[in-house]
């Protein structure tokens, strides 16, 4: 394990979410441990409860059953606002604030936390470099002047601004095109390696999960159906649902990976 004190350990015990009036629970009795510094991916079809489960971690949704602890401390020990300021949050629609510059967007959580101006400015430049946007070029721009991929880089920088030990990402690359998505996936791996932040990442894209995950948590109908390292999910799917998720995708992926190897062979 690359990381350490820079990532938080996450522990979910019997977590359930039921909405009043709904006959089935959105999330049912989930037990899950995510080790400090791990990159865990919640994978599953839409409506399987993966986003709901993610949103219980920063209490955007209050679980109706069970408990969630971060580094052994129950999430309800803090007020929700304090808890959220310590957890990074990235969503598919990015949600940059259009009336603020890129640097103000990135500096928003530090400013809520009362950091000084100079410290925020230095941190913004550091983060822009981390997400590979040249600080001098991007600092003063407005979100609408950026491409979708660039906006999500800013979204990631904003989420990391106050040095959270846990980062939640809800289908963060779902809205960008395939080529940009691949480079963003590589970069989130690189950032993860560099920072050691624990990351919980939600996706319905099996290739994406296989590409970035330390651990894949496959979900269906509000429960975990398999929780394993990517290779094991691929090699030993727990049931037909997992097999369906990794089957055809996996074959095309193996092919894509074999091609550069074949090309290299003559040398």
């Amino acid at each position: 394990m690359a990381s350490s004190d820079r990532g938080a350990a996450l522990s979910l015990r019997g977590v359930g979410v039921s909405y009043p009036g709904a006959s089935v629970a959105a999330v049912h009795d989930v037990d899950l441990e995510v080790a400090a510094g791990e990159l865990a991916v919640f994978l599953g079809p839409s409506g399987c409860g993966k986003s709901t489960l993610l949103r219980t971690i920063n209490r955007l949704i209050e679980p109706t059953a069970g408990s969630i602890a971060i580094d052994g401390v129950d999430g309800t020990a803090y007020d929700a606002v304090t808890l959220r300021r310590g957890i990074g949050y990235v969503i598919q629609a990015v949600g940059l604030f259009p009336h603020l510059t890129i640097s103000a967007n990135i500096g928003v959580v530090p400013s809520l936390l009362g950091w000084g101006k100079a410290r925020i400015a230095a941190r913004v430049d550091e983060l822009l470099a981390l997400v590979r946007l040249e600080p001098a070029r991007y600092r003063a721009r407005m979100p609408r002047e950026l491409s979708g991929g660039e906006q999500q880089r800013v979204g990631v920088a904003r989420a990391l601004a106050a040095e959270p030990r846990l980062l939640l990402m809800d289908e963060p690359f779902g809205a960008v095109d395939a080529i940009v998505r691949t480079s963003l996936q590589d970069e989130i791996r690189a950032i993860h390696r560099e920072l050691g932040t624990t990351i919980v990442f939600v996706t319905h894209d099996t290739d994406e999960a296989l590409r970035i995950a330390d651990r894949i948590v496959v979900m269906n109908a509000g429960t975990i159906v398999q929780n394993d390292v990517p290779l094991r999910v691929l090699a030993a799917p727990a049931n037909d649902i997992v097999r369906g998720l990794v089957g055809i995708d996996a074959a095309s992926r193996r092919f894509a990976e074999a091609r550069p190897l074949l090309a290299r062979e003559p040398t």
């Binding site: 955007l60 959220r84 949050y89 969503i91 928003v108």
Partner: protein, 203 residues
């Protein structure tokens, strides 16, 4: 024009009264409309009926509205202010709510998820973006109130309406012309000023 040229100070004094009546009412109206608009935007069950009630008040002819209030609060500036405040609510609340509802829900999710309190989100994310729509509402309300305030002279609230009603009673058309011109200039000036403010905050 002759009255206007011969008695500029009288016209100016009445214009001053008119301004105080209009902007005093507008300020009070905004203090009520801001929280009301937030609640209307957030809560549809409360929002619909509230806008319906304000819509009814808005459709009451201004003279009738003033007439309704006089038996309760008597003649004078207070009654006029109450009428003007009530009249402005519809425009202000509707625009404040529309401005807030127009904000991309992803931003609200991001803001809450990043740890904004409800108030911080409102002040730092929602109001700045709703501002052009809100200023648009203030502009329309101001122009309307300048017009309605002329009628308020009828219940002894002063302002430029005094020139109009005196002119009618004294059969002195020059007074009517002076009052009309002053009121029109006031309305146009307010409109232009607030239009440029609107453009300024839209950027």
């Amino acid at each position: 024009m002759t009255y206007l040229i011969r008695h500029p100070l009288e016209v100016l004094a009445l214009t001053g009264q008119h301004l105080v009546l209009t902007f005093g009412s507008l300020a009070i109206a905004l203090i009520i409309a801001l929280p009301l608009g937030v609640v209307v935007a957030r809560n549809r069950r409360f929002g619909g009926p509230t806008l319906a009630v304000l819509g009814v008040i808005y459709t009451i002819p201004s003279l009738a509205l003033l007439a309704f209030i006089v038996p309760i609060l008597g003649l004078g500036t207070l009654s006029a202010i109450v009428a003007l405040v009530a009249y402005a609510q519809m425009i202000l609340v509707r625009n404040i709510a529309a401005g807030l509802r127009g904000i991309d829900p992803a931003q609200l999710d991001a803001a809450t998820g990043l740890g904004f309190t409800a108030l911080q989100r409102l002040v730092r994310v929602e109001f700045p973006q709703a501002l052009p729509t809100i200023v648009g509402g203030i502009r329309i309300a101001t122009v309307s109130l300048i017009a309605v305030a002329t009628v308020a002279s009828y219940i002894h609230a002063g302002g430029l309406g005094d020139l109009l009603f005196d002119g009618i009673h004294q059969d002195y058309p020059q007074k009517i012309i002076a009052g009309s011109i002053a009121a029109a200039v006031l309305a146009i000036a307010a409109d232009l000023l607030l239009r440029s403010t609107e453009r300024l905050v839209r950027r």
